[in-house]
Amino acid sequence: MKTKSHFAFFDEGSKKEIRRSILKAIAIPGYQVPFASREMPIARGWGTGGLQITLSIIGKNDVLKVIDQGADESVNAVSIKKLVQSTTGVELVERTQEASIIQSRHRIPEVPLTPEQILVLQVPEPEPLRRVEKSAYKTKILHSENDYSGAWLMLFEQIMKYGRTATGADHPVYVNNRYVMAPSPIPRYDNPKMHQSEALILLGAGREKKIYAIPPYTDVESLAFDDYPFAVETFTGKSCHLCGAEDVFLDELVDPATNETIYQCNDTSYCIERLNKKEEVEVETSHA
């Protein structure tokens, strides 16, 4: 006997519960809303939080893009895409501009997002204070009392040890001047993209059972001391070895043939689009 599976994998009750948590998260920007994280056909820690959000907000007319650290074609992104498509039949794209829902692991696309789009981020550790306070009970109190000295203390320690803030990713942010939030392990380069973002940003942590959100046009400010201002990663003088882009987040690679350090766009769809455009121009000019 073959039973007909539900649209978007979940039963309606599950979707309703997750949607309700999402609505609460949007109503209180940056606040971690607990939700009943479901058992998923992928392992916890592989994007179950993001996947559950995507599955509960997706409709038949949505267009989905899934990225894994900037790449559209990595295993994780592909298997999530396949699961969503086989249970919903939605269209899959790689071009950021064409997607209505973008699920991402650890990157925000280079192309600015629009009010029609929703960005879903996968979160391994939603609690920005976890490294200073192990107890979830206590961190909840700290959030409620607006006591974020722990988050500042971590940055202070980094400055003492390394002479600068050394957050490789997941640099904590103030949302709407109230809650300190873990922006998921995006590079600092992407933090400013959250500020006054036109697109709705939803963050889901499946293992930690938390959903939180940044509604459109919300103030998002990265934590920084007066004399150590927040700085994004810089790539001055470096450019993508494929498309030549300079003002993007670059990956550092080693050319296996020459052993030289080369740089490449981290956002693969952005890179491919630039390459295609170049080719078009080339065709038009030299073969017209």
Partner: protein, 278 residues
């Protein structure tokens, strides 16, 4: 001359358990424990004043409610009933601080209180650097400038005789006496008008004890900070405190000038306490 106290405590009550009909009037108690319902009356009807710049000693045997009272004042524990008034707090001087919201209590802790626990584990983050530990309190008090905080921390650490080349080390690498001194430096970092010291020298060897006591005395003289010093060690009280309160079974049984209490104790328990001094 009439002087207004900095901290007024009135009828502070702390009990663990609901009490029963047999112990409601504090009758039929074994010490401060009701054998019928198991309720412990840790602090009963505690009232006292703390004036600006003075050191108030609190002595009593173990289990007499000294530390519980301290925890209540520092908001580590909820009081059952009673009131405390702080001059210059976030509310008016007539505002009972126990009734403030938890945010306001936190404000008082961060801006007006300093606390040195008996066990440095409670007052310090053992896996953060010493300078970071001091900065934590400054950050909590709203400071956001790294170099200023570093300077403040350095001068504080120097004051408590921690060599500066060890300032970036974690307190867990330090000896007990050094940890205690880091804790004192942290408690002093935001110049609190009121400092609580809970058995600070207990467990330290004699030379280190003398060192820490000297330091406390010096701080009080130079900065004029009011302190409440809890100790079961009469020698410590004799050296530090201007006035002393004696507690037994959760109640104050005697209070007065330290010399008076030590030289001419009135209550039978205080007499026993003073004469059992080695």
């Amino acid at each position: 001359m009439h002087e207004e106290p900095l901290l007024k405590v009135r009828n502070l009550q702390k009990q663990f358990g609901d009490g029963c009909s047999r112990c409601k009037e504090r009758q039929n108690l074994e010490k401060n424990y009701c054998p019928n319902c198991g309720t412990v009356y840790a602090c009963h009807d505690i009232s006292f004043d703390l004036f600006a710049g003075e050191i108030l000693g609190i002595v009593g045997e173990s289990g007499s409610g000294k530390s519980t009272m301290m925890q209540c004042l520092y908001f580590d524990a909820e009081v059952t009933s009673g009131a405390a008034y702080i001059d210059g707090g976030p509310g008016s001087a007539e505002q009972n601080v126990f009734e403030l919201s938890s945010q306001q209590k936190r404000y008082i802790r961060n801006h007006q209180y300093g606390m040195v626990y008996q066990n440095p584990v409670h007052g310090l983050k053992m896996n953060f650097s010493s300078v970071g530990n001091i900065a934590e309190k400054l950050i909590a008090a709203g400071k956001r400038n790294v170099s200023e905080m570093e300077e403040t921390s350095k001068s504080l650490l120097q004051n408590v005789h921690i060599p500066l080349f060890r300032m970036k080390e974690e307190p867990r690498n330090f000896s007990g006496g050094m940890q205690q001194r880091v804790q004192i430096a942290k408690a002093l970092s935001n110049n609190p008008p009121i400092l609580f010291l809970d058995e600070v020298t207990t467990g330290l060897d004699l030379s280190v004890q003398a060192n820490v006591l000297d330091l406390i005395k010096k701080i009080q003289r130079e900065l004029g900070i009011s302190m409440i010093v809890v100790s079961h060690d009469l020698a410590v009280i004799r050296m530090l405190a201007d006035r002393t309160i004696v507690m037994l079974n959760g109640s104050i049984i005697e209070e007065g000038l330290t010399d008076q209490i030590l030289e001419d104790p009135q209550h039978a328990y205080t007499q026993q306490l003073v004469y059992s001094l080695l």
